[in-house]
C-alpha cells in the first residue's frame, strides 16, 4: 500500500477450510489447530493464513492459478462465504460482527460484484439488469431506471437498453454486468475473473474501459485474475496466491525484481520486463557529475516512473545517456542503451 493511503479492506490471518462435517465455530483456533484440521480426510483448505490490506482507490489484483483460493478470498470480502478463522474489516468494521440486515445493507451500499460468467438475469432487459442492485436496495423505479441508464451509457450500451442478455454478445453482456455494479456507485468493486471469459481483443477493450473509469472516479477495486499480463496492466499492486497461501504482495516491479521465492519468479518468467520495470530502477549513477538547468526543455529526459518499454524509443534516438529525474526534478541517474540491455540480462 502506498504511503498516505488509508486501508479500506483489512484482512487479518484469514483461513477458510471446507469441512466434510458440519463446521463448528473455530474463531479461537490457533494456526496449528487449523493446519491439523485442514489435513483431516475430506476437508479442503481453500485459504490459509492470508493477511493483506487494500488501500482506498487502488486496483488490487489477486493473481493465481485456478484452485489457488482467490475466488474464495473474494467471496469472504463480501461475506458470501464466511471464514473459518481470521477477520475481514471493511472501512474499519469487522464483517463477522455484521448479522442479517446489517450485512445485507453493507452489500447494497458498499460493494458490488462482477462475475466471470456475467450472471445476468435472462428474463430482464439490459436496463432492468443494470437496475437490479438499486431495485434490491429499494430505490424508487424512475430513479433507479435513470441511474441504470446512465451507467449503461457510460459503458457504451446507451443504444441497447431494451435488449435481453440473449441478444447481446459476450463483451456487451459483461458491459451490462459492469453497469449493474456501477449503477450502485459503490466505493468497492469486486471483480471475479471478470474479463477471463472474453476474447483477447474485447478483454483489452474492457481493461481500457476500466482504466478510464478509474481515471474519472477512483474506486477501490479487488480484481481476481489468472492472466499475468492483465494483472500487470491493471494492478496498482498484485497479490500472488498459490495453494491458498499468499506468496507475495507488492507492485509488479517489486514482484519481478525482488521475488520472495522461486515460485514467484516462475510466475513472472513469461512477463515482458520492459512493461513492468521503470527507468528509475535501472538508472546508473553518472560517471561525470551532471548539472541540468531546469528550464532546459530541449534536451531529452525521463521521469523515474516511466516504463522501460516507453523509454526505448527515446533512448535509442538519443546521442548520449539520458538523465532520469525523480518527482522533485532531481537527477537520480542516467540511462543509456547498455543500461537497458543489462536490465534485461539480469533476469
Amino acid at each position: 500500500m502506498q504511503i498516505g493511503m488509508e486501508a479500506l479492506i483489512q484482512i487479518c490471518n484469514l483461513w477458510k477450510i471446507f469441512e466434510s462435517h458440519q463446521p463448528e465455530n473455530r474463531r479461537q483456533a490457533s494456526d496449528i489447530e487449523l493446519d491439523a484440521l485442514g489435513r483431516l480426510p475430506g476437508n479442503r483448505v481453500a485459504v490459509k493464513e492470508v493477511s493483506l490490506s487494500v488501500g482506498a482507490g487502488e486496483i488490487f489484483v489477486v493473481m493465481g492459478l485456478s484452485g489457488s483460493g482467490k475466488s474464495t478470498l473474494l467471496r469472504m470480502i463480501n461475506g458470501l462465504i464466511s471464514p473459518t478463522a481470521g477477520t475481514v474489516e471493511i472501512e474499519g468494521r469487522g464483517l463477522d460482527a455484521l448479522r442479517g440486515q446489517d450485512l445485507l445493507a453493507m452489500r447494497r451500499s458498499t460493494m458490488a460484484m462482477v462475475f466471470q460468467s456475467f450472471a445476468l438475469f435472462p428474463q430482464r432487459t439490459a436496463l432492468e439488469n443494470a437496475a437490479f442492485g438499486l431495485e434490491v436496495a429499494g430505490v424508487p423505479r424512475r430513479q433507479r431506471l435513470q441511474r441504470a441508464e446512465q451507467a449503461l451509457t457510460r459503458v457504451g450500451l446507451g443504444q441497447d437498453l431494451q435488449r435481453r442478455p440473449s441478444e447481446l454478445s459476450g463483451g456487451m453482456r459483461q458491459r451490462v454486468g459492469l453497469a449493474r455494479a456501477l449503477a450502485l456507485d459503490p466505493p468497492i468493486l469486486l471483480m471475479d475473473e471478470a474479463f477471463s471469459a472474453l476474447d483477447p481483443l474485447i478483454r483489452r477493450d474492457m481493461q481500457d474501459l476500466l482504466i478510464d473509469l478509474q481515471r474519472e472516479h477512483r474506486r477501490t477495486i479487488v480484481f481476481i485474475s489468472h492472466d499475468l499480463d492483465e494483472a500487470v496492466r491493471l494492478g496498482d499492486r498484485i497479490a500472488l496466491m498459490q495453494d491458498g497461501r499468499l506468496l507475495q504482495c507488492g507492485t509488479a516491479e517489486d514482484l519481478l525484481c525482488s521475488p520472495s521465492s522461486s515460485a514467484v519468479s516462475t510466475f513472472f518468467d513469461a512477463v515482458d520486463p520492459t512493461a513492468v520495470i521503470s527507468v528509475g530502477a535501472i538508472a546508473e549513477p553518472a560517471s561525470v557529475p551532471l548539472q541540468i538547468h531546469p528550464d532546459d526543455s530541449i534536451a531529452p529526459r525521463l521521469s523515474a516512473s516511466t516504463l522501460i518499454k516507453d523509454a526505448i524509443p527515446i533512448v535509442a534516438s538519443a546521442q548520449a545517456a539520458i538523465p532520469v529525474l525523480d518527482d522533485n526534478k532531481q537527477v537520480i541517474g542516467m540511462v543509456d542503451p547498455r543500461a537497458i540491455l543489462r536490465s534485461l540480462q539480469r533476469r
Partner: protein, 300 residues
Amino acid sequence: MTDLISPFFGQSSMVATAADAVVAWLLLNGVLLFDGINALILGFAEVCELLLMAPSPLLMAVLVACVGFWRVSGGFALLCLVGLNLVVVMGLWEPMVSTLALVLAASLLALLIGLPLGVLGARQRWAWQLTRPMLDLMQTMPAFVYLIPAVMLFGTGAVPAIIATLIFSMPPVVRLTVLGIRQVPEDLIEAGRSFGCSEWQLLQKVQLPNALPTVMTGVNQTIMLALSMVVIASMIGGGGLGDVVLQGIQQLNIGLGFEGGIAVVILAVILDRLTQSLSAPPPRALPERIRSIVDLWRIR
C-alpha cells in the same frame, strides 16, 4: 404349512383393518369438519359453474377464440370457434361447462396448495423429504382406492370428485416447481446474494422468475391431469361429460360415448394450448397482428 403362513396373512389384513378403522373414526368424529369442507368446495364449484354458464354458448366461444387469437394464433382461434360450436351442436354444452367448472375448481385448489408446497420443498430439505413420499403415494395409488373413502366421507356428487381430482392432479405442479427453482443457475443466486438480496427478495426477484417456464409446465400438467380425472370421477356422481361417456358405455351406445369423448378432446386441446401459452410471450404484438388482418381486408 398353514401355521407358517398365517402370521403373514394376519399382518396384511391388519393393514386393511387399520384403513377401515381410520375411515370409520373419521366418519364418526369428523362430521362437522367434513361438512364444512363439503360446503366450502361445493360453493366454490357452483360459483365457477354459474360464472361459466352465464354467457350464451356462442358468446363464450367467441370469447375463448379471442383469447386464443391473442395468446396463440389465428388458426387456433378458428379451431376454438369450430370445436366449441360442434359441442353445442352435439347438445353437450351444459355437461362440458360443468366438467370445466370441476376442472377449474380442482386445479385452482391444487395450485393453491401445490405452489407454496413446491416453493417450500425447493428451499427446505426437510420439507421435500416429507412431501416426496406423499407425492409418490398420490400419483401411484390407483384412483378408485380413494374414490370409495371420498364417497364415504363426502357423499356422492361434485365434492368427492373434486377431492379425488385434487389428490390426483397436484403432484406435477409441486414436482415441477421444486425442479424449476432448483434448476436456477448457481451464479444467478450468487449474484442475487452479492447485491444484498434478502431470502424473500431472492425468491421473488431471482428464483421464481427464472423458474417460471418450468412452473408453468407443471400448472399445465396439473390442469390436464385434472381433466382426465374428472371424467373418471363421474362414477361417483361428478357429473359433466364423464356422465355422458359412462352412459354410452353402460348402454353400449357407441355414438353417444363417441360424442362425449370428442367433447373431452376438444376441451383438452383448448385448455392445453391456452395454459401452455401463458408461460411464453404472445407470438407477435397484438396491435401489429390486428393491423395486418385489417390490411388484408382493405386489399379485397
